[in-house]
Symmetry: C2
Subunit: 400 residues, 2 copies
């Protein structure tokens, strides 16, 4: 295993100029907190539009539901994938038109479907008969996307069997939807932080075959939803976004060449992950029994106040530290709570400078996605992660 | 594997009269929510005092930090184990005297030690040299408990290597503490939801040997902290609390017969777990590809809005449902979010009535501990778990 060394704070990797300026100006601010550069969201949005010009972007609000983020994306022209009534209400409150919302969660209470329809939402996703019937009853004339199961190979955040139906059921659900007067489409998700640009190939072949079959029955799909999966920059290298665009465009041409409907993508992590940096502090460094080699480094942020995605060490953030990076040694990274499960990285192979000290500031890079909204309300008496939003029209360095 | 069947709602198991009355009177209240019976806390407190009359009770605030719970325990005469500055401030705000607080987290910022000392806290726990030095510098004359590592065998919630030092280091830390003018004690934790009443035997033998050694050097301990670990009533049966009392008293007599200092216990789960019931609703029932047998039952509560302890299916709650319990079939239980990791029980072997329907109310019993304060602030746009507190001076049935 390749050891994961600290990233130098003088190497600007992951630190944009507005973030660096904020951190430099707030060295006494109590930690932990997240600084988020809204310009990175704009950059990522443009990159995605360039890579997949035919696709309409539906930002997955759950990745970072801050109003600042939603407003920035609304101004860029994005649409929004929402997971709940709460997310719908927040989007409407800041002025996003309901036609720009897609209710993408396949698990919805019927009264929430009714609410969504009443406020103007017309796009829903389902993967089961009972869920489709809720849409039939409560959202006449809407477009329903039927989600097809994929195996998630190549993705860092696990994709369980929780979502998606097989091809035969998808066809049956679509026939039922069409019969009930709904528009329909097909959707799938290749798994979050997908590092294989070819992961879209097989589901697109399946979708192509499915839509051909339906077309032969006189049923024409209104759209295809390619899901998310586009990566942020963590420890393990990822392909350039352009490579995803090339691969997906090729798979679309090969399998759905004549498709005239809408093509949707649902990026979450990709648009906001690299935009955030968490500033944290070393609370304690100690050695534990039975482990002579690795120091235990306890930070003031952990699994329960923002770093949920370190679960099973799935998402491995880059760590920036002060100190002598020519002399590093193995560490276990843990959170500040009394909970034994609050250990971030024990097996991943992190190394940090041997001269790291208690009280040092440590930065976790590319932490703009799935951090702040996952924070516990008051676990162990720790406050939820505070967030600050910055931006600038200056030239500045952006990670990767 | 024994299948885990549904508990009948007519069997009153886990439902006290005040909780049942609240639920009966609020059948239209939007779910999910937690109903918590404060009388159960009082009952459990008395049971623990009876089982271990010599021990002073320090309630582990993190288990349920609601002010209602803290106030009830304050009136019963409890002291409090706190994990953070936030928990200290909350306890003081509701009028708990600082002498009744022990700062038991072994991972503390030095300025938080200073804060605690300044407001009157005089009891701290450490397990590392650097942590002890913070207490030496900031909390002169206090009592410091040195936490010894245990292996956690027999506990349902995993105990990692995150906490505790070995015996040699404990002795060294205590000598240093005494030399610096601090009082000292020894502490350990056998792991949460500990189902083996003999789990205290070995750490108490170790502590007895340690204190004998220190006594021979002229150092006398001020106290022993037995930690927590006393169980709530989940699916797997647990011994009666009396059996824990008998075993622990025997281990104390055998290893620390002449000990004249204080004995502390830190129950969290035991005092509050059985006091709570979560009311939830079935949002969707479906069958997934590749699994013909088990239905997937999606509830409106999941891993990220209250049921964190289902992580790795560690804590298995009893589930109460309506329907025909003579005809049950296997289910996978999952939460309502778009996150693939939000699956509660897939391997544990739960069975629920075959006639369970979407919209049915389902009750999760003994969910008063480690639920509400673990909820995410706004994950997937879901609100944190709402809580209602009830009590009564009437006679009523209490679980187990």
């Amino acid at each position: 295993m390749q050891p994961i060394g600290a990233v130098g704070l003088d190497e600007v990797s992951g630190l944009t100029t507005p973030i660096a300026r904020f951190l430099d100006g707030n060295t006494d601010m109590p930690t932990p907190f997240l600084v988020f550069d809204l310009d990175v969201v704009a950059l990522r949005y443009r990159q995605l539009r360039e890579a997949l010009p035919a696709a309409k972007v539906f930002y997955a609000v759950k990745a970072n539901p801050a109003e600042e983020v939603l407003t920035a994306l609304e101004q860029l022209g994005s649409s929004f994938d929402v997971a709940s009534r709460g997310e719908i209400e927040r989007c409407l409150r800041i002025g996003i038109e309901p036609e720009r919302l897609a209710y993408g969660n396949t698990i919805k209470k019927e009264r929430d479907v009714a609410f969504a329809y009443e406020v103007g939402v017309r796009t829903f996703t389902v993967d089961a008969e009972a869920e489709l019937e809720k849409v039939v009853r409560q959202a006449p004339g809407s477009t329903v996307y039927v989600r097809i199961a994929t195996d998630g190979t190549g993705a860092d955040w696990p994709l369980s069997r929780k979502f998606g139906c097989d091809m035969a059921e998808a066809a049956a659900l679509i026939r039922r939807a069409a019969w009930a007067g709904l528009e329909f489409g097909a959707s799938f998700h290749v798994g979050s932080q997908q590092r294989d640009v070819r992961a879209w190939d097989r589901p697109l072949a399946d979708v192509g075959a499915l839509l051909d079959q339906l077309r032969s029955e006189g049923l024409e799909a209104a759209g295809i939803n390619l899901g998310g999966g586009f990566p942020s920059h963590y420890v393990d290298p990822v392909p350039e976004l352009g490579a995803y665009g090339t691969a997906i465009r090729a798979a679309l041409a090969a399998n759905l060449g004549g498709f005239a409907g809408e093509v949707l993508v649902e990026p979450g992590r990709y648009l906001v992950g690299d935009a955030g940096v968490i500033e944290t502090e070393v609370v304690l460094i100690s050695r534990r029994p039975d482990n002579d080699e690795a120091r235990w480094v306890y930070l003031d942020i952990g699994m329960f106040n923002g770093l949920t995605e370190t679960l099973d060490e799935s998402i491995r953030y880059r760590v920036g530290t002060p100190g002598d990076r020519a002399n590093q040694g193995p560490v276990v990274l843990a959170g500040p709570s009394c909970d034994s499960a609050d250990v971030l990285y024990e097996k991943a192979g992190y190394q940090l400078p041997l001269d790291l000290r208690i009280g040092d500031r440590v930065r976790l890079l590319s932490t703009g996605a799935y951090t702040s909204s996952y924070s516990s309300v008051w676990f162990n008496g720790f406050e939820p992660l505070r967030c600050f939003f910055v931006s600038s029209h200056d030239q500045r360095v952006v990670a990767a």
